[in-house]
């Protein structure tokens, strides 16, 4: 018989401070200290220490053998220019974003246009876990465990008309919540787009969560696109509008530098960014660089959509 003696430094699992209490310890202390000023204080603290609720999701076949990038790297090394151009700026500034309540305007060539509450657009009972590679156009990459639903399921809900050929997306642009908007780094609001077949592809995903919890603000809360065979900037964050169109929508980086960022922006080691090579990438957490795979390794699922296209012209 195994007799387990517990040392006095060993703590049982149920004595662990809950994450909610841990994250809110400052608020709890502050609550005691400034009970009088409580009318104003809680709302401020509530935003700064947003507690990410766990999400229930079912695993799917979209898994990788590689282990995910650590959560602190995914949530503290971000490109989200609405909160500043430094990699740490989004984690520092995104607490200003109010992810709930959230609504998405749906318009254009759809049979069910309107303003949808997030919960009406996304079925939170049908969430899936998906582990995807993320390849940034700046030649670094991560492995990210997302939680969300296929984009196709949302498109089905809003009923695209037969003339719809493209899906356009728009990010929130609110100066009060996004300090980065004060300078025109890009032509705000941030916009992105997909061809209809790309949007209906099995890989195209709308994420509402990360690492089993709600999306942190700096990762694009509460709703973002994830298209892992394209460079990261195509995966637009904090979506407030989805429009279906018959013409190719304008996209922010393409407007900013058409020679450098095309509409498709598929990951392609053979087509360099004019200012740097795309043949290799640094996986965050690794020292050297590894070879970049065409379509970020998802060629089996997506290459067919680009058959016959000159990818060096349609970059």
């Amino acid at each position: 018989m195994l007799i387990k003696r517990s040392e006095n430094w060993q703590e049982s699992e149920n004595s662990v401070t809950s994450e909610t209490v841990y994250l809110n310890r400052r608020r709890l202390l502050a609550g005691v200290a400034v009970a009088g000023a409580a009318a104003l204080a809680p709302s401020v603290f509530a935003q700064r220490d947003r507690v990410l609720k766990p999400l229930t999701a079912t695993p799917t076949s979209f898994k990788l053998d590689e282990s995910p990038t650590p959560e602190d790297a995914i949530t503290q090394y971000n490109n989200y220019y609405e909160f500043g151009t430094g990699k740490g700026d989004p984690a520092d500034n995104a607490w200003r974003l109010k992810p709930a309540p959230w609504s998405v305007k749906v318009d254009g060539l759809v049979d069910k246009p309107g303003t949808y509450a997030l919960e009406d657009l996304v079925d939170f009972n049908a969430l899936e876990d998906r582990i995807y590679r993320l390849r940034c156009v700046e030649a670094w990459s991560m492995i990210v465990p997302w939680v969300g639903i296929p984009l196709a399921s949302v498109l089905k809900k809003i009923e695209p008309q037969s003339g719809a050929k493209y899906v356009a997306f728009e990010t929130l642009a609110d100066r009060d919540q996004m300090p980065g908007l004060r300078w025109p780094v890009l032509d705000w609001p941030y916009t992105e787009g997909l061809r209809m077949d790309e949007a209906m592809n099995d890989l195209a995903f709308l994420a509402v969560g990360l690492y089993g919890k709600e999306l942190p603000n700096q990762n694009g809360a509460p709703l973002r696109l994830v298209v892992p065979w394209k460079y990261g900037f195509k995966s637009i964050k904090s979506i407030v509008r989805i429009s279906l169109t018959d013409t190719q929508p304008a996209t922010s980086w393409n407007i900013s530098a058409p020679r450098e960022y095309g509409f498709y922006s598929n990951v392609n080691p053979d087509v360099d960014h004019p200012r740097w090579s795309q043949s290799r990438e640094r996986r965050i957490g690794e020292f050297g660089r590894r070879k970049t795979a065409k379509f970020n390794g998802y060629g089996d699922l997506v290459a067919g959509m680009y058959a016959g296209m000159d990818l060096s012209k349609n970059y």
Partner: protein
């Protein structure tokens, strides 16, 4: 500073001021080496999740800062009507060279891991790297001829003409910085604005001299 500096004797500035400024300008390099040391020992460090990117940017930033600082010494000396700031000019210029050497070391060694084929392709194909590399090459003769011996060997006039290259180097450095950023960003433009005002000071001086010569 503008009021204190002229009251300190040149001797004191040489003996205490220069070692102090020297030590101050070493701080960023010391921070960088210390944090790489920690990174290699798998310790928490200040270089973040992409240490190569951070170290390339950090050394580039400090190169530009010291370059602009060296270019502001002459205007400062005119402004406070004292030649004393000139005591520090060579040292600051050499520090700019020191930091650009760290910049290139960071890129060639820590980032590209001595992949010479890829590096050469970068220098030839990426215009912003071509521009940055050109600026580095131009800085080499200035660093070599920074000694008093070389001033004598070249003659003050020729030496001065050679060292006017620093204006071109400053320009290339700032262009390199602007081109490296994505989108329309404010930070490189601040550097550009400072450089523009420092160059405008020279242009104004030149124009005044031309007018004097003409009359």
């Amino acid at each position: 500073m503008t009021s204190i500096l002229p009251s300190i004797s040149s001797k004191k500035l040489r003996r205490f001021g220069k070692p102090l400024v020297f030590a101050l300008m070493l701080i960023p390099a010391a921070w960088l080496v210390w944090n790489w040391w920690l990174a290699f020992a798998y310790q928490p460090n200040g270089l973040g999740f992409n240490p190569q990117e951070e170290s390339n940017r950090f050394t580039g930033d400090w190169t530009l800062r010291f370059l602009l600082l060296s270019l502001s010494i002459t205007p400062l000396s005119k402004l406070i009507q004292s030649p004393k700031p000139l005591l520090f000019r060579r040292m600051i210029g050499l520090f700019a060279f020191f930091y650009v050497t760290l910049h290139i070391t960071s890129y060639v060694w820590l980032d590209m891991l001595f992949d010479w084929a890829e590096l050469w392709a970068d220098v030839l194909k990426r215009i912003y790297i071509t521009i940055g590399f050109t600026a580095f090459l131009m800085l080499i003769p200035l660093a070599i001829t920074s000694t008093s011996g070389w001033v004598k060997r070249l003659g003050a006039k020729r030496w001065q003409r050679l060292h006017k290259l620093v204006y071109v180097i400053g320009l290339l450095g700032v262009i390199h910085f602007i081109m490296m950023r994505k989108g329309f960003q404010i930070e490189p433009l601040v550097y550009a604005l400072i450089l523009a005002s420092l160059l405008a000071f020279r242009a104004h001086k030149y124009w005044l001299r031309q007018r004097r010569l003409a009359s």
